[in-house]
């Protein structure tokens, strides 16, 4: 099962036999006061820094969310997507809860985007899936419905099946077009909540074989030592079928945990990527040391 995303010039394949897909979460104004004010004033310069940092960190796809209250979100999202596509060839995950914003984003996007997101709610699917089909995009789907975010894996499986059946039978999408988000919630709020997420992943992998993504940083909300929790959460999730995550790609510890998991699961044959990343790091360290030495020796 391969879900292919693309920009004008680059393809990324998400799959169970592929290296993990790292979707950078950073371009999102939620909880970023200064960024919100800048966006409201039409200043998109922070996006340039966020793109650079995430590309350098190892992101393979970039999530973009422009959910700033009291702004023209569709217009802002269009601008942001055009800007990002001028800066990088990484594919984009277009993230909004506003249908018009998703449509606006898709209309200017070059390539095959990932749309984030639908739920198992009929009205949400009816609004968004025809658009996904029209633009030839892929879509993230959350197995929650109108009533609740299910706390049991059973209910999440039922809703996953509903989403897949509806998308395929009613809207003419393929299973490759759907990326299920099995719902990862803060471990601090409930000690069993992440086990439920793992169980959901395992069963979705076994029963449907589709690709999955998750908002990984959620898991450590309200806890100290978030990087370690996030890194460990991802490494464990990968073993039960998670194939991508919307995650912090600027923190080496987290990205390295994912890369090590790829290596250990045989998705990085003979450690080629792992070893070349090591060499690149060595070279960068040596260059930095040389520069310091030159500085010290300068008259």
């Amino acid at each position: 099962m391969h879900t292919v995303l693309s920009s004008a010039t680059k393809k990324i394949t998400i799959g169970h036999d592929q290296p993990f897909c790292l979707i950078g979460e950073r371009i999102n104004p939620t909880g970023r006061r200064i960024f919100q004010d800048q966006l409201r004033a039409g200043d998109l310069s922070a996006i340039e820094r966020d793109v650079a940092a995430q590309v350098a960190g190892g992101a393979t796809v970039l999530d973009v969310n422009m959910g700033v209250p009291l702004t023209d979100e569709p217009e802002l999202l269009k601008k942001a997507i055009k800007l990002i596509q001028s800066l990088t060839d990484l594919p984009i995950c277009i993230d909004s809860s506003v249908v018009e914003a998703l449509e606006a984003g898709l209309s200017v996007y070059e390539g095959r985007a990932l749309v984030n997101s639908i739920t198992a709610e009929d009205d949400r699917m009816a609004e968004i899936l025809p658009m996904v089909k029209h633009y030839g995009a892929a879509v993230v789907a959350l197995p929650n419905d109108h009533d609740e975010i299910p706390m049991q894996a059973d209910k999440r499986l039922v809703l996953t099946k509903k989403i897949l059946d509806t998308a395929v039978d009613k809207y003419g999408l393929t299973l490759e077009d759907i990326v299920i988000d099995p719902l990862a919630m803060p471990i601090g709020a409930d000690p069993t909540i992440v086990r439920t997420a793992y169980e959901t992943m395992q069963r979705i992998r076994a029963e449907f074989g589709v690709n999955m993504t998750v908002g990984a940083s959620n898991v450590s909300f309200g806890m100290p030592g978030r990087h370690t929790i996030n890194a460990t959460f991802l490494a464990m999730a990968i073993t039960v079928g998670l194939t991508s995550a919307i995650m912090d790609t600027r923190t080496p510890q987290i990205v390295e945990a994912v890369k090590a998991a790829d290596l250990l699961l045989g998705h990085d044959e003979w450690g080629a990527s792992w070893i070349s990343a090591h060499r690149a790091q060595q070279a960068a360290q040596k260059a930095a040391a040389d520069a310091l030495l030159q500085q010290a020796l300068a008259p």
Binding site: R33, P69, L70, S96, S97, V98, H146, E148, G188, F221
Partner: protein, 221 residues
């Protein structure tokens, strides 16, 4: 154990979130002849206030806040009927709910716990609460404050819809409206005509207390 020792131990065990000990000590305190008011205002509430302060300083984390709140809830279940008998005035009544279209409740539940911990009587309407249900609850419970929670930029506009519904029902002046949730900002709260915004659970408690004091001062003036 002397009454003073008991109040101190109850305070410490609440801080640790040791629910069985908190329940047992509360009962023990009553048996010793301590009043429900004393157990509540001299031990449980100060302890939860300390939990909030530690959380704000970054010394306490979400699970610690949760278990402390739960420990206190257990004690409250025992004390509430007794407090009702003696007619003690609660800190205030708070009607809370996640707005229509939104099913997120983790943040709201944390806020509820801290409000209860501060001595508020909290009526939680759950998730997906339509405007008419808020109106009903306000008429039924006569709360001091109503809280609207939203986690999505698409459901935040329900704040305005709710406030409109309160106005239409002629009860907007009877309650203080507080709003919150991940994407919500002070500017947004102002734009929809809410009375207050709080960024997290302990801030909600502080602002709620201030607002009630102001409200009561205005009424008595």
């Amino acid at each position: 154990m002397t009454p003073d020792e008991l109040l101190k131990t109850l305070y410490d065990e609440t801080l640790l979130g040791n629910a069985p000990a908190v329940l047992a000590l509360t009962q023990q305190g009553l048996d010793l002849g301590l009043t429900p008011e004393s157990l509540l205002f001299d031990s449980l509430i100060p302890s939860l206030e300390e939990v909030g302060a530690r959380f704000e300083r970054g010394d306490y984390f979400v699970p610690e806040m949760l278990i402390a709140g739960r420990a206190m809830s257990g004690a409250l279940a025992l004390l509430r009927p007794l407090l009702a008998e003696t007619g003690v005035q609660t800190v205030g009544t708070f009607v809370m709910g996640t707005v229509k279209g939104d099913v997120h409740d983790i943040g709201k539940n944390l806020v509820n716990i801290m409000l209860e911990g501060a001595g508020f009587h909290v009526i939680d309407l759950g998730v997906q609460v339509p405007p008419e249900r808020f109106v009903e609850a306000i008429n039924e419970y006569k709360p001091d404050i109503v809280g609207f929670s939203a986690f999505l930029t698409t459901t935040m506009p329900m704040f305005k819809a709710n406030i409109n519904a309160l106005e239409k029902a002629g009860i907007r002046d009877q309650v203080v409206v507080m709003v919150g949730g991940a994407p919500v900002t002070q500017e947004y709260a102002d734009a929809v005509g809410a009375d207050a915004y709080a960024a997290d659970a302990s801030q909600t408690v502080k602002k709620a207390k201030d607002l009630i004091q102001k409200k009561r001062a205005m009424v008595s003036a």
